[in-house]
Symmetry: C2
Amino acid sequence: MKKEFKGSEMLSPVPAVMASLGEGDEANIITIAWTGIINSKPPMTYVSIRKSRHSHDILMKTGEFVINLTTEALAEKADWCGVKSGRDFDKWKETGLTKEPASVVKCPMIAESPVNLECRVVEVKELGSHDMFMAEIVKVHVDEDIIDDDGHFDVVGAGLVAYIHGHYYGIKRKPLGRFGFSVMKAKTKKRLSKEAHEKRVENNRRKRANNK
Amino acid sequence: MKKEFKGSEMLSPVPAVMASLGEGDEANIITIAWTGIINSKPPMTYVSIRKSRHSHDILMKTGEFVINLTTEALAEKADWCGVKSGRDFDKWKETGLTKEPASVVKCPMIAESPVNLECRVVEVKELGSHDMFMAEIVKVHVDEDIIDDDGHFDVVGAGLVAYIHGHYYGIKRKPLGRFGFSVMKAKTKKRLSKEAHEKRVENNRRKRANNK
């Protein structure tokens, strides 16, 4: 049995990213759950921000931001950047997060984040409580620690964070399946599972060798 | 050290919801990761869909859809609904998912999903590969099994699914913290943790009583 409620933001899980924006001393960090992918070609995303937020003013002026993925290790700093205002604090100084130069946009990326997406705003839409900054993703940076020898990304291995109904959660390590697993032949499943096993063994061997 | 790549859809985690849409025999299900919250007041969401998809045609005609949250138990069916086309299959029949009447929109909800969001399209934006259907969330339905006696939702308890770089993942059960936990006083943290413990004890007692 279900209970009915008025419309609300019950979509879950959603991301909990840190957006960095602004240039020089004005550079700020704002934590955002109202984000997502809106287009594939060209790759596009958005961030929805209240007009009253300090980062809203910055973004209206510069039209550039970086999405920095949040990990479990960064969750407390991300929360702090979501609660406090850049009007009152230098969030880089207070959190100890490090500015890293982006390659296309002028605002800094967060060095500690394993994945950074450089974004350029193409349109601002006023929707009510929030303005939606629709943007093209112009560059992506990925930490080499989560790229294996074949160039595959192990993004989950970085320990990403989801935001669900007012709380932050980690992601389970083992996938339920890859896109298309419901129609995958048993033979293909077996081959992929064998390859994944061999890769784990090889990665562990490499790690042990590096630690010597 | 980081490696640089051209822009791509590396935002993670994102949702992996099943959108139901269309009326009567035309009712279809499409699995969507390109979704998110874009506004709080009024509550608004979007789904981005390729023009070539069967559900795109339906949505252009009806302007209504329901977002049905995906659980670990529903992951394989969700994947199947994302791979196959409603032009070739009656996805309700093939997956065994059950139509449940919505209260405002004319398309059905998925009964097996623990949370359903009824949505009405307010604008369609052509972005390139995808059209973005921006919509108001007009009603929400929540399974009573994930509502406790105080009216709080335990959405994570339903076993939600995230989509990360081509794979589906479950969410860890224990939160890293609630919004604002980085600035919470030790006293408040202790009180909340004590209350959560008492609630778990009480819920377990109730479950045991119900099972007798």
